[in-house]
């Protein structure tokens, strides 16, 4: 099967190594991977900021670039949620685009959802390869959890990869990132992420594992600012691929 890999702006810029972990996983699942060179952003920042025009233009760009593939895999609940659940709203006044999107939407998947529910991967490359010693704790990112129902998938895959998961208190609770919210209301955002950091630390886990770069940068940034240089912050792809 031909899989279009949407690597997201944040992985592209901030954590390219996660992109390679994703490729390792998709290869292990037997996929033929294509990385469209002209991809940029799914448009979620524009949509969430109320700039519908820009969001629509970027949605058209995405659909045109990715509709040829059997599946589209996105290692982010936030971008995945936007494409899968909000694009139809952006195209609601345009039957031609809406039809194209409705054809594409069922083939768009968040990474762990794809690995667990579509290809039903049995052997994960990360099994026994990570340098992790203790258990990890999983932070449910908002859009992945509430828009795409990603909850069981990453946990089951981590277990398959031989990684123990210990749950933190309020693992469903938002980390306070919220895209531009973290810039506009940096102080409120920090108060919210403090709660998250405390729950991570109290869980006794060696690392917090998550599926979204926004939460990742926010949590890691706050942990380091408050002097925690030991709790690791890992993308689930890194752990499943054995790169952690």
């Amino acid at each position: 099967m031909r899989v279009g890999f949407f690597h997201t702006c944040l992985i592209d810029m901030m954590r390219p190594e996660i992109g390679f972990s994703v490729i390792k996983l998709l290869e292990a699942a037997g996929c033929e991977i294509v990385v469209p060179e002209n991809q940029t952003c799914c448009g979620q920042p524009a949509y969430s900021s109320g700039d519908r025009k820009a969001a629509r233009a970027l949605a058209e760009k995405f659909v045109a670039e990715f509709e040829e593939f059997d599946y589209v895999v996105i290692p982010s609940g936030s971008c995945g949620g936007h494409v899968k659940t909000h694009y139809t709203d952006l195209f609601s006044d345009d039957p031609a685009w809406l039809a194209r999107m409705q054809h594409l939407a069922p083939r768009v998947f968040e990474l762990t959802d794809f690995l667990y529910n579509v290809v039903k991967i049995e052997k994960l490359p990360g099994e026994g390869k990570n340098s992790l010693k203790g258990p990890v704790t999983y932070h449910d990112s908002c859009c992945g959890l509430r828009e795409l129902g990603v909850q069981e998938q990453p946990r089951a895959l981590l277990e398959k990869a031989g990684v123990a998961v210990t749950e933190m208190k309020d693992h469903r609770q938002c980390c306070g990132f919220g895209g531009t919210f973290s810039l506009k209301y940096g102080n409120v955002s920090a108060a919210i992420v403090d709660e998250k950091c405390k729950n991570i630390q109290d869980s006794g886990a060696e690392a917090v594992v998550l599926g979204d770069l926004g939460c990742m940068l926010n949590i890691e940034g706050r942990l380091r600012r408050t002097g925690d240089n030991t709790t690791r912050v890992l993308h689930v792809a890194q752990v499943l691929a054995g790169d952690a």
């Binding site: 060179e37 524009a46 919210f181 810039l183 940096g186 955002s189 919210i192 940034g221």
Partner: protein, 468 residues
Amino acid sequence: MQVHSMHFKARVGEKLADKRLQQNLKKLSTKWVSGRASAILELDDFEGTRNAAKERRMRAIENLDVWLDTFEKKATQQGATVLYAESAEDASRLVVEIAKKHGVKKVTKSKSMVSEEMALNKALEAAGVQAVETDLGEYILQINNNEAPSHIVAPVVHKDKDEISDLFARVHKRPRLTDIPQMTREAREMLRPQFLSSDMGVTGGNFVIAETGSAAIVTNEGNEGMCTILPPKVHVVVTGIEKVLPTLEDFATVLRLLPRSATGQSITNYVSLLTGPKRKEDAEGPEHMYFVLVDAGRTSLVGTEFEEMLRCIRCGACMNHCPVYQKIGGHSYGWVYPGPMGSVLTPSYAGIENAVDLPQASTLCGECHVVCPVKIPLPDLLRKLREKQVEQNLRPAAERFGMRIWAFVARRPALYRLATKIGVRFLRMMAGKGKTISSLPFAGGWTDHREMPAPNGKTFRELYKQRR
């Protein structure tokens, strides 16, 4: 009530720094969130009940005029008088007129958020009528120099017991008490003479029922009964026009969700259905019953993309579960309704330009939508308000400019590749030898509170090309 939402940002800073408030707000998650979570398990089909409640509320909203008409006919048949108010001020004027007509000197009130919209107490006092709040939380706020409620169900959630002990000792001029039942008894002793000397009771109405012409009132303290049945000869129900429910069966459905979502109770201590004034054969009840049904912006939402907001049943679950509300409390929002529902209602009722911060003050985490008993898509509505702000040029110039440049670049792959290539190198340079960046121009909102984890210096795109 005056709108203070433009001071949101300044207030938020104060609230975050208020250690006592931060401690008090912890009640939200330890008490209300977990309380709701266990209460909803009692229903065999919680999702089905939510869907039914949503449908029943929408049936009323979609034919609001018809159901209000039915309600008015029924209530009138039962001997009540139904009045409509186009604005909150009109509504206050009507209540004052009723008070004057019946020679009222004192009004006892049970909890009503609509009366907060109306600033009813102020209007009554201006007309020489004393208004006494009798809901314990509202009473505490009134004797504390008419402080505003910070939550729609638990108006005094921002205070702790010690603050209330001090307040009671100061205002009641009695020895300071610390035991909650004793404090409650003292408040009761203060309120009892007020009930006995009251001329008119004003209550809210959780719903009005079209098929019977009744007011449905859901409370825990029993003060509502004292306001309506005990001595007053006049009972006035003030509520929003959107609170009409066609049938008692609709009310039964919604009632399965309201207390569970609000306070985690299977049912409240009191559920009253009040229909018409005292009849000959009745042992008790008011001689006159009025309904003041308030529009104050509600009809302007009918038929628009914000119509779904009208089915709100005012349970407060959205604010209890909101990570932002949990950190800043209700006063920052600056008008009657706080939290996610307030961030939709305030711009809708009080003017989008008067509450520019509120739709932005959300991470759009979606939990409010998940817990809403009538499935109002609050994050979508907040986002639609953001769209309106952009359309009406209500966002700051720097933000609009930044967004425009970003969107321009993101639509041009070659330019985007170049821009990101330069961007990550710049960030790498800013980090020096470190793993993180402590200060960034144009991103103070981030780096004032967090490190920025530094990138490697090359984009995934570049590295992928190299590897192939």
